[in-house]
């Protein structure tokens, strides 16, 4: 193993303790640290170049023995990446480039002087320390606690912060019943969206008769706008491995699979690496920590089918079949993968498990609301100042997440809605901004907690178009097995398309509503049953926009092409750029005089609008 701090198998719980002590006492571990975010977002922004530059700069200055550059999981604020944190004083630097390495090492690490230009500024106030930046200060990190503190590629880093002690605890001092009871009394509910109590699910599988059982992890994070699971797998993969091992012990199974989307190559790499390391250390395989317990894990990759996030479809896919769902019962806990009793949980759920076992159920139950315990991670994106990954106690008001943590809506635009729960979810309008983010409160508004995608929209988003977007998505991803979903979503999409083109009729709204209810009641799986939620929720909160599209042939956000009108105002100086750009020659006017658009010829491509340098063209 290339992890220098562990050179032998961990055979007993005492070994684990000793190794932890050795790691914590080692020179490598006690070096001063610079944390470089190696989450998917920051890597795309160039954080690996920053890391290399920092390492070579440290070598040049002869500091390589004293300062370690640590690649960590996602720190959260992807929009301002690459980001780094200086370990000794918690200084947070954003938008760092490789060229800044000299200044960071020379001025800060050696000279103790902060590099001003890389510091976060909010409302003209410079905020140097991670703990004083609102984006971080207002969060509560439980699942993401290790992201930003340890190297996800090193099992020694995970063990140093207490990793695998939960597995050791259940194997040496708890029975499977006690383990399930602990998870049950913590109040943990499935983080994949539906919120089913995890302890109850495990009890069903434990009680099912069968010599072979399976434990599965759903990492087919398909909801557009959700990237929590990806970040956990990339930032703290061992917590998922450990959580699954605890689950396997609880229900009595030896084999697990993690089903990961093919779109997440980095997550697959890091998880595979974690599994390999755990195997080499003897934390996966036979006789784990000197007990009778045996467990191993395998990764299976998805192939681009959204419906495979549904549990029965996911199992069909692992079996090598078309990922089509089947009716339940029998439930997976009775007949799942290859007809054996199976437990399926989501990545974030498993990652919670080691924390619950180590800190105890009462600690976990003290976070959150009466009915929903613990924290939830949201992927905050869209029209928000700082987009990225946010973890807050369940029940935190939406306003706090968008404004206190995300910094609000940028460019002086007004908040219009937040779409939560992806294609199965709904939109929350401005008058419900104070809604608590928990399962029940969101359901009341016609949205769902879902897996945690949270897309903020401002006045430039058309809510009819948003509903159309999600319908197009589910219509495209419907597996085609059952008629209500396959045909119903298709018909609904046609109606909405008509409305967006200005050809709708008032009766269409009723038809949409009726069809939505039928599809909901008659579909086979979760995809169909929730497919009409985005339409129902926009109809409920933004009915006036539908009516405007139909009655006034007007799209107030100027998104629906057929309904937009472009007009040249008196700001026009007659430069002729728009005239040149127009592909259908719909613009006329002579040089240095105000031009005009022939709306009958205009195809509303918007080229003139984006070409004009004087903001003289408006659309409405």
């Amino acid at each position: 193993m290339d992890d220098l701090l562990i050179n032998e198998r961990i055979k007993t719980p005492d070994d684990l303790k000793k190794i932890r002590e050795t790691i914590c006492a080692s020179a490598e571990f006690n070096k001063e640290k610079v944390f470089v975010c190696a989450g998917g977002g920051c890597i795309a922004s160039g954080s690996m170049k920053v890391k290399d530059a920092l390492i070579s700069e440290l070598q040049k200055k002869g500091l390589a023995d004293k300062v370690a550059v640590v690649e960590t999981g996602c720190l959260g604020p992807c929009a301002v990446g690459p980001v780094i944190v200086i370990g000794k004083d918690g200084t947070f630097y954003q938008n760092v480039s490789a060229d800044d390495a000299t200044a960071i090492v020379h001025d800060h690490l050696i000279g103790g002087k902060v590099v001003e230009k890389l510091i976060h500024v909010a409302d003209d106030v410079k905020q140097q320390n991670v703990d004083e930046i609102p984006f971080f200060k207002n969060q509560k990190k439980v699942v993401l606690n290790n992201c930003g503190k340890i190297n996800p590629n090193k099992i020694s880093d995970y063990i140093a912060v207490g990793g695998y002690s939960a597995l050791s605890k259940v194997l040496t001092s708890m029975s499977s019943d006690e383990t399930i009871a602990e998870v049950g009394s913590s109040g943990l509910r499935g983080r994949g969206g539906a919120g089913f109590p995890t302890g109850t699910k495990w009890t069903f599988a434990q009680k099912s008769e069968g010599d072979v059982k399976y434990i599965l992890c759903n990492a087919d994070e398909g909801d557009p706008g959700a990237f929590m699971d990806r970040s956990i797998l990339e930032g703290d993969p061992h917590s998922v491995v450990e959580g699954m091992a605890v689950g396997a012990f609880a229900i009595g199974c030896k084999k697990g699979f993690v089903y990961v989307r093919a779109e997440y190559p980095l997550a697959v790499d890091r998880l595979q690496n974690a599994i390999n390391q755990a195997r080499e250390c003897g934390l996966l395989g036979k006789n784990i920590l000197g007990t009778e317990f045996e467990f191993d894990l395998e990764i299976r990759m998805g192939s681009g089918a959204f419906v495979c996030g549904e549990e029965t479809a996911l199992m069909a896919s692992i079996e090598g079949k078309r990922g089509e769902p089947r009716p339940r019962p029998p439930f997976p806990a009775q007949k799942g993968l290859w007809d054996k009793p199976t437990v399926l949980n989501n990545v974030e759920t498993y990652s919670n498990i080691p924390r619950i076992i180590s800190n105890g159920a009462p600690w976990f139950a003290s976070i959150g609301t009466a009915k929903s315990k613990g924290t939830k991670i949201f992927a905050l994106a869209g029209a928000v100042e700082i987009s990225g990954l946010v973890e807050v106690p369940v029940g935190t008001p939406l306003r706090k997440v968008i404004y206190d943590i995300g910094g609000g809506v940028p460019n002086g635009k007004a908040y219009k809605a937040a779409q939560i729960g992806g294609p199965s979810g709904g939109c929350i309008p401005a008058d419900h901004l104070d809604v608590a983010l928990d399962y029940e409160s969101l359901n009341e508004l016609g949205a769902i907690m879902g897996s945690g995608g949270l897309i903020v929209m401002d006045e430039t988003s058309c809510m009819v178009d948003v509903a159309r977007f999600f319908l197009e998505f589910v219509q495209d991803e419907s597996c085609g097995k059952c008629v209500p979903c396959r045909e119903g979503t298709h018909q609904m999409l046609q109606i909405i398309n008509r409305i967006c083109e200005g050809k709708g009729e008032m009766a269409d709204i009723d038809t949409l509503q009726k069809m939505a209810v039928t599809i909901k009641n008659a579909s086979l799986c979760g995809l169909g049953q929730t497919a009409s939620n985005p339409v129902l929720s926009t109809l409920r909160h933004f009915r006036d926009e539908y009516e405007e599209h139909i009655r006034d042939k007007k799209c107030r956000a100027a998104v629906c092409k057929s309904l937009i009108v472009f007009e040249i105002t008196d700001k026009c100086i007659g430069c002729g750029l728009c005239k040149k750009a127009c592909p259908v020659s719909a613009i006329c006017g002579s040089t240095k005089t105000r031009h005009s658009i022939n709306t009958d010829m205009c195809t509303r491509c918007g080229l003139c609008y984006s070409t004009c340098k004087f903001d003289a063209i408006i659309k409405y």
Partner: protein, 181 residues
Amino acid sequence: MSNNESKCSCSCSGTENCVEIELNKLDAVFDKWESQPGALIPVLQETQGIYGYIPAAAITAISERLRIPTSKIFGVITFYSFFSLKPRGKYLIRVCLGTACYVRGAEEVLTALKSQLGIDVGETTDDLVFTLDVGRCFGACGLAPVIMINEDVHQWVKSSDVEKILKSYRNLAQGAKNGSK
């Protein structure tokens, strides 16, 4: 394989031993997966990894080795959007049409790509350099809109950036071609 299909189905333009050489590459894949339950999808994924698509000859070979009817294999291939039965370009461009990218203008980027490449979604340019496809969220919403070209993520893409991005990959492809000569 029937007689009228004896010409190889890959894009090598018909070297004599092509089919045979090609299929040899699958042996390692079969050895690894044959004995495992649920092997079909990983085998198809690795097949596509080797050839860039799933050639007809490979389906026959997989069918024989894994003892699964070709009709079933075809059913699986066509179900999952990742599998392609046609050769694809050296660079697979995928435009994210997830919610965050959509509300930040991914559609305009896609339009620009279509018009500059002269192909529609799912198609490949004649020189086999680019294939255009769309994706549903790559989990990089904080950087929206994004496009992925093979494994590279391009962030905050505007339609006016498209020309420059395509040019850099065309140059890479041209460089590789000249290098191999």
